[in-house]
Symmetry: D2
Subunit: 310 residues, 4 copies
């Protein structure tokens, strides 16, 4: 399989390198707007530790909303199922990114992967700590599951989001008005915007996400990160809610759990087999990486990877 | 495994037989309101043809929205991917059953498993035929995939829905006003209400759905019903949209693709392994079988069946 | 004043006769689509019975939603304030004509001048009668307040609306599903579509609406049609809800209570002074007569007519 | 008339003083929650300068949203009709105070009397000044039209709103995200919360609002405050949008233009005759003064004051 996989990754890199329709790089966070749209990287990690990659798979990018998967994992570890009193588990079905109210029902966000829900998770992680401590804790957690210390927060991106993230500020204030934030909005947003500004490469992301494809355990070190049940449930949430209002289409076309970020990255897991990270900065109309989605569709079809059958 | 499965089904039957909280039987379709809430049946069919069941698994009930899976399969066979120009593939995220507008965007229903989308599928099947012909075609298709001629439409239920289904009539007229119905609303509703009134037992349903767990082929007869790709995609839709606004929670708790009906039935598929049908008439707040969902949760956990990992 | 008024009406006719931007004639009711967009009529009736008009003021047109004012008056006379248990009195604020759900809250339409509310009024008038009797009653009521027997229903328009009014059928079914119709949707729609198909000229309309400018009494015959309080309240509803989601702008620009119809007519009242009817078939983006609105704005400004000050 | 008016005001004071159902004092702004619900004041100012009042008409209260009328008048004076590019003129029809999104269409609030619209007006007034200068300008403007220097901002209320007004902060950030604020949200909110914290008595309010009942001119000093057309239009906006989603009902029951505030005050104008200010702290379900509305209904009925007829 490894040989086949290597060949497939190379094919995909060649096919997509010269694609002329590459989507639109996110421009509402100024530093992200400057990323070269021609970048493309992909990395697959297998359960025996084999890491196969192609393209710009060692170049760091802003993982943005992919960080929500790690924050959720950390929050579940610290607070357990009590978090589900403050955030739901349903797809939002919301076609407009900026539709704030449809993301909430009586102050409860639909799921932890839309911005409103992720801000609640940040508030849970913040607890009664200082924002800086909490941010440090998140970075150390991601370093530990990726088994790589060379992961950090891009302060330029974090600061830019703090300065221009008016939609997130609206959400945080709305959550606070609905008594679903314990801390003050600026503190919670500080944590949230720093978490989103984590810089990682495809190879690092594939390592960090491997435990999700192995029912919660790192298959190489045998270190358990979350219980089996929680790992399965995080995968379920990625499947139903991982691509905003493009989640149904992603499940339909690709068929594996995955989470996207507006930096152009996507982390996917193939239960029992592998984790995948892909990066291409141009986005489709739902805010998900256009070529990243295409790459995953090609990879999963050619490798016969789908959770819905052979 | 068969022995273990038989034991688990019996355990579940015993556990749920005497449950005091059984949900609320649907009362808006008069004949359904008279069904005994104490009924409980479950059937599992394996790829070697083994059928294991417990409780009232041979008693027929109204499959209602489960029929949407068969109608979609038939429509894909007749019209192919052209149907996706008229119906979407995204979860509706709609918390209120009666929220008509949120089910549509510019006349296009969010997916083929909400009522608006299923009515469009009925219109596609109706094409330029007479309603009666189309209804006959649907019955014969379900009989053929279940390999059982003793499947029929309960005319009392169909007539009751035609007489009292004002919400469906509102949807059909709204679709027509938006130019997403070729036929007149009463004709399309005739087809739709008859399709929903199909009467089947758990055992029959498990047989009829087996092809979805085997990538589109009946694993016993080796007869192919849909292409591999289509079978996987129908499973994906069942996963993201099969339980209305309870789809996310179902994926989270149970972890296999499934479609519910207000008659209290649920059809689930475990790719590569089995199809499952369960029936308990009482519904939860989302309109899905309360004990049916619980039975599937227990069964899948005890058998280790999940598409999200071991 | 009469001389001044006559001069102003003639000025307005001249100014608007050759306007090149005339709006778009309603095309969703086929017979209305054939009306000549160059038509323009205006008529003003004073409390001493003087009738001054200009242009095509004696030509009949389809009054459409203007009929909602007469139907409401009739329903208040028959059922009194009990009708307010079934329909509200608030502007809908709804920017999209077709947004069905926002017109209702728990089955209760926002006001009697949006389609959903007017359909409830039709149901109230229908009561346990036959549709034909109710339609006859409405026609006789309008003839009596206009003191003119030459007012009738255009059956071609009524039939066309019955055949193509899918949006209204959706509303009626939604109301029925929410238990806010006593009769079956097709019967109620029969009444509603016939009422809307009343054919009247500007001069007839100005006569029929005179009682609203005179606190409920015909100032010429001294015949009381509704109580003072009800007349004032109908005017209030026309002011806040008479032009759908263009009501605020109409109040802002014109400053008198008025009700529009998609046939291009508008009936306005200047309390204590006059009633006005205007007709120009082309509509603006809110579905209100473009030049009719402009004519009323010019007329009221030049005559110093506004309920908001001198 | 003055004798009759004095008698009517006294009757109303007696009738309402001992009312047992007085509504609920606003509790989300802490200092407002402490106001005595038994307070009741009413003042009427006629065009000849006569001021007739009853009850606690000289006691200051927080005028809150009534200030939106003065801010709009000031903004129209400084920027003219250009403000209508940034805020609409339609009733919002929004039944939920907290429904943020329905208050906006593509970043444009429905009207200047809902919070979102008033925040845009604050931004317009702020322009490129310092918040403190702008607040001073608003205070001086209200002092000048009330011809009374004893009008000031209650800093305790203003600070409380700045600290707890998360809903307003959500609106301001949403407006900024939609590019409909020039200044930063905290600066605009500073102006807005201070303006709302103006403390005035019924007698002062009736004086300040007199120009609106006299087509824009102070009828005593003959000083023109806004043009005739603008005064009429402000009245029109008060009529269609002055009581949130209770505007239609207020027009229906009371029949004169008015604007309410959550401090329990209402400012009403009777064109050509008088201005009225009433205060009773308890609110109805729409956030408008319960007894204040009742007092206006009784007063206008007994005096025969309505803009919709005699």
């Amino acid at each position: 399989m490894k040989q086949r996989l290597r060949a497939v990754l190379n094919e995909i890199e060649v096919e997509l390198k010269n694609a002329t329709t590459r989507g639109k790089v996110a421009d509402y966070i100024p530093p992200l707007a400057q990323v070269d749209p021609a970048k493309f990287g992909i990395a697959v990690m297998l359960h025996d530790g084999t890491l196969i990659s192609a393209g710009d798979a060692q170049e760091k990018f802003s993982i943005q909303s992919i960080s929500k998967v790690f924050a959720l994992t950390l929050a579940l570890g610290k607070r357990g199922d009590a978090i589900w009193h403050r955030v739901g588990r349903e797809p939002s079905g919301d076609p407009f990114n900026s539709s704030i109210l449809l993301e909430l029902e009586k102050g409860m966000p639909r799921n932890p992967f839309i911005n409103a829900g992720a801000i609640v998770i940040s508030d849970i992680l913040l607890s009664s700590h200082q924002p800086r401590e909490t941010i440090g804790e998140i970075v150390r957690f991601v370093q530990s599951i990726a088994e790589d210390d060379d992961i950090y927060i891009d302060e330029v991106v974090a600061k830019a989001e703090d300065r221009t993230g008016f939609n997130n500020a609206a959400l945080a204030n709305l959550l606070k008005a609905n008594k679903n934030l314990d801390n003050l909005p600026p503190h919670v947003l500080g944590v949230y915007h720093h978490q989103c500004a984590l810089a990682m490469s495809c190879e690092q992301l594939a390592c960090a996400g491997l435990f999700l494809s192995a029912s919660g355990r790192n298959p190489i070190s045998n270190h358990r990160i979350v219980s089996v049940e929680r790992a399965l449930r995080i995968n379920a949430l990625m499947m139903t809610c991982g691509h905003y209002d493009g989640s149904g289409d992603f499940a339909f076309r690709v068929g594996v759990p995955a989470k996207s970020g507006v930096g152009g990255g996507i982390l996917a897991t193939v239960p029992g087999i592998a984790s995948i990270a892909v990066w291409s900065p141009g986005l489709n109309q739902h805010g998900n990486s256009l070529l990243g989605t295409r790459a995953l569709e090609l990879l999963c079809r050619r490798m016969g990877w789908s959770i819905f059958g052979r």
